[in-house]
């Protein structure tokens, strides 16, 4: 087996372990709940002990814990996440629809954050220990220190008269051609995405700065300088490519923080995504929905990290050794 495929298999193994740990954790987390659904279901006129036992059998709750766990795994393998208590629809459908709303908003936000973060990080590294570097680093730190929900409220205070601050589309819109709908959606997306970008870009700035700073000390950069290459060329062809591995790793590792951020952003802007669904599920004590959403969110984050490992193998083949 080559070191390359061994590296690949190892990373995939870790991801599978992570997903399995999540499934298990997710199962037992919701088993420690006080009270059970059966007791409240059996509380009907004429409800008897027999009815309760029949319901227990129907839901498979008479089995021992490991039997329930096996049932849970089998159902999951078939894509069944249960039924939402509040909407009485399959959780799988609800979660996937919410995810469809979350992904574009989060992607736009993260794209802005990466663009701003990496660019400002490169500038700070090139101008290191100057006023420009200090200004960039300090602004990045201060903005990164601000609570996401507070940034959201600040943006609402500033832009509420120009941009929509709630929901994903205008419920009173007349036009139903593709382009007006798209324009409406994008307009609703601006503030949530901007909030997410502001809340996350600081860490990208700081990591890019130190990663590029580390490569600027290398011999090949000095050699390129001595040969008289322009700054932009050195940064683009020598410094940045060698700094990419830590940057990509950090961006992937921040996936958890970003998802956490979008839960806050979606709650603040009533964006009908998976974070908003989680918040609603908590308020309505809709445990199947909460369980399904948490599971999907965690698996997405684990997969993003796996993807980063693969991308890093492309950027730096030495990593497999």
């Amino acid at each position: 087996m080559t070191s390359r495929s061994r590296y690949l298999l190892g990373k995939i193994g870790i991801a599978i372990f992570g997903i399995f740990a999540t499934l298990t954790l997710n199962f037992f987390l919701f088993r420690v709940l006080p009270g059970d659904a059966i007791s409240s279901m059996a509380r009907v006129p004429g409800g008897s002990v027999e009815l309760k036992e029949a319901l227990m059998r129907q839901f498979g709750l008479d089995k021992p814990l490991w039997g329930q766990y096996l049932d849970y795994l089998v159902q999951l393998a078939q894509g069944n996440l249960g039924v939402s208590y509040s909407s009485l629809r399959p959780v799988t459908d609800e979660v996937l629809r919410a995810l469809g709303n979350t992904v574009p908003m989060t992607l736009l936000g993260i794209l802005i954050a990466i663009l701003v973060g990496v660019t400002s990080g490169i500038i700070a590294a090139w101008k290191h220990d100057t006023a420009i570097d200090n200004a960039i680093s300090n602004i990045a730190t201060v903005v990164y220190s601000a609570p996401t929900q507070w940034i959201a409220i600040m943006l609402v205070l500033a832009f509420a008269s120009y941009l929509p601050v709630s929901g994903a589309s205008d419920p009173f819109a007349f036009a139903n051609d593709f382009w007006s709908i798209l324009a409406d959606r994008v307009k609703h997306m601006i503030l949530p995405s901007l909030t997410l970008a502001l809340a996350t870009f600081g860490q990208y700035t700081l990591v890019t700065r130190s990663a590029v700073l580390a490569t600027l000390g290398e011999d090949y950069v000095s050699a390129a300088k001595a040969q008289g290459y322009p700054v932009s060329r050195i940064l683009a062809y020598q410094a940045l490519p060698n700094a990419l591995v830590p940057i990509v790793t950090l961006i992937a590792l921040s996936a958890g923080t970003v998802i956490g951020g979008s839960v806050v952003v979606e709650t603040a802007f009533s964006w009908p995504g998976i974070g908003r669904a989680m918040y609603d599920a908590i308020v309505q004590r809709d445990y199947p929905m909460l369980q399904g959403a948490l599971l999907v969110v965690t698996i997405v984050v684990i997969l993003v990290n796996l993807l980063a490992d693969l991308v890093n193998m492309k950027f730096d083949p030495r990593i497999v050794e």
């Binding site: 220190s145 601000a146 929900q149």
Partner: protein, 284 residues
Amino acid sequence: MKFKAAITILGLFFLAALSGPLFGIDPGPIDVQHIFAAPSAQNWLGSDDAGRDVLIQLVIGALPSLVMGLSAAAVAILIGGTVGILAGYSRGWLDLVLLRIMDYFIVVPALPFAMVITAIWGPGLGHMIVVIGILLWSTTARVVRAQVKSGRERLYVQRARALGASHLHILTRHILPQVLPLIGTTGSLAVALAILTQAALEFFGLAGTGVLSWGTMIRFAFQRDAMLNDAWWMVVPPGLCICLVITACYWLAQSLEQRFNPRLHTTDLRIRSFALRAPATEKP
């Protein structure tokens, strides 16, 4: 410079936080005359939807926010430090198992997990401290593990072992002194993260009832239509306070790191990279 600024900011906030219970400051009864009153000479930061002074609430809210952050960070460091020392010192399969668990907790989205666990367990400050603590320990564990791993190979530690020193002696006399300076750095970062996570949980209404902190102030401003009434003074101050405290924590972490361990870049918020540039082991 950054160190002094950070210490000054944190010190001032702690003094303010302590002055709340010390002088028995109270936001007072509901005052319908001053609902959403703008900042004035009497109420420097205006009043909220119940006509109570925002500045007084800000002072009272400082204590739960700071104490929460410190306690959750303490839990995280206790778990992270123990696991990190255990993993780094033991090597072999135990190290591998603990490393996988650390990696899992580093990747896992902390806020959604914290939301779910707090919602199931029941809201409350004590619960939040434990939940945040058990979700934030992994970064500390990673840093400590790397340090212990390289530390136990140092020449003087090996000499101590050759002279027959027990594991306990090596751990307490040689390993721990190497690890403690790191705790200052990762500890400040943990406090910052804990305060942010707490504020987010409070924004979701998971603090329980009757808690007045900066996080719940932001929630109340959001819930009770402060924005519709243009009452920016209800929401700007608590957010700015959180922002300042956390910036101070980051600056503290950065300056502590520069002082104690300039080669280990943990405070640029990179999480895994110290493995790439862990200090080389000394050649005998």
